[in-house]
Symmetry: C2
Subunit: 224 residues, 2 copies
């Protein structure tokens, strides 16, 4: 192995991957709404590329569940039903619970300080009623736990599930009182980690996720 052949290729990702990422952003931003048809040649022309890499990108997105490919009929952005949410959320709750459990087992003093730092941001953004800041810190808290848990497969599944859930633009944190409740739940989770009670931490994280689902359901019923 010499300097000329970088095995850890920092090479730019393939074109189809770049396109897939662009499309993901468009889907998450609801620039491409659920149910919308993806016009291959229009998109290809848009990006100034041919249909070949674009179609490969669509295959990837289909595997992630973000779009559905109807043979001979084209590609459409996935529409999540309430039933789908009811299927995905409990699974995600279990998986996030497992992360919390595993992380509690493996947490070091360095990790712990980092978690506390992020939690402080949660406290402060919540006090300032800064929803976006809370959302961001919340995301980083869960990411930090995944890193501590150290199970790449588990982390992958959770990331995939989160991508799916992003298809619904609804955000439970915008529900009145939800931030306060979410913060309280986080405090309890952190407390369980502090005393190294892995089962309790797992259980509380699990319930935390389901509590988020319930909030989302309330949001759905008020929004109609």
């Amino acid at each position: 192995m010499n300097a000329r052949t970088p095995t850890l290729s920092l090479a730019q990702p393939a074109l189809y991957e770049q396109v897939a990422e662009q499309l993901r952003s468009k889907i998450f931003a609801h620039e491409l709404k659920p149910g919308a048809w993806l016009d291959e040649q229009a998109l290809a022309a848009d990006y100034g590329i041919s249909r070949t890499p674009l179609r490969e990108a669509l295959k990837v997105l289909a595997a992630e569940g973000l779009v559905v490919l109807k043979p001979r009929r084209g590609c459409y952005v996935t529409e999540l039903s309430e039933q789908d949410l009811d299927d995905v959320f409990p699974v995600m709750a279990i998986l996030e619970g497992m992360v919390a459990q595993e992380a509690t087992r493996r947490v070091t003093s360095t990790n712990w300080r980092n978690l506390c730092a992020i939690h402080n941001e949660l406290e402060q953004t919540a006090a300032a009623n800064n929803v976006d800041g809370f959302f961001d810190a919340n995301q980083r808290f869960h990411t930090a736990l995944k890193d501590i848990a150290g199970n790449r497969y588990l982390a992958q599944l959770i990331d995939d599930a989160r991508k799916l859930l992003k298809l619904t633009r609804r955000d439970s944190l915008r529900l009145s009182g939800r931030i306060t409740q979410s913060l309280a739940e986080h405090r309890e989770i952190l407390a369980a980690i502090e005393v190294r009670d892995e089962n309790l931490a797992g259980q509380r994280m699990h319930d935390h996720l389901l509590s988020g689902r319930a909030a989302l359901a309330r949001l759905a019923s008020t929004n109609r």
Copy 2:
């Protein structure tokens, strides 16, 4: 909607899907071994098709984790490390545990009779030391539970994980004594379902999967 436009298209799957399925079989049969390079034009020539649908199939397999795509360097069958197995198995144990729990909650008398019928096959094939028969009935038992649980997302994750595990040809059931132990565990799971103790059923299924992992690990150490 008229007879001319079958919305439930029974149309044959796209070529890239057929190819993906063919390749999956080859990978599972270890005709294509972990680490092996997939020669695009050779395979395309083999199937008598062009490289385009073949490459689309490879994207799908990559998303499933069965192959890895190295930019500008080609496509290789995924090699699972022991670490990967240690990551995947606990997750699968959790998921299968959730299936058992959910199925216990929803099982009907009809379901129950079906489960018992399959379990009887387990008993008989085990008594006859029919490993392949036991393997098959075992598969159908788990599938039946997934159907009863009725969570499509959960079922999908488990199927994906099982595909990954098929990359290792090792089969814990071939380990001496494993069938007897597996059968005993199944009996306990069934008993928990019978008394509708969902938590116990989930716990026992979880442990059953981990017991399978342990057997696999023993197999790995004896095989070297």
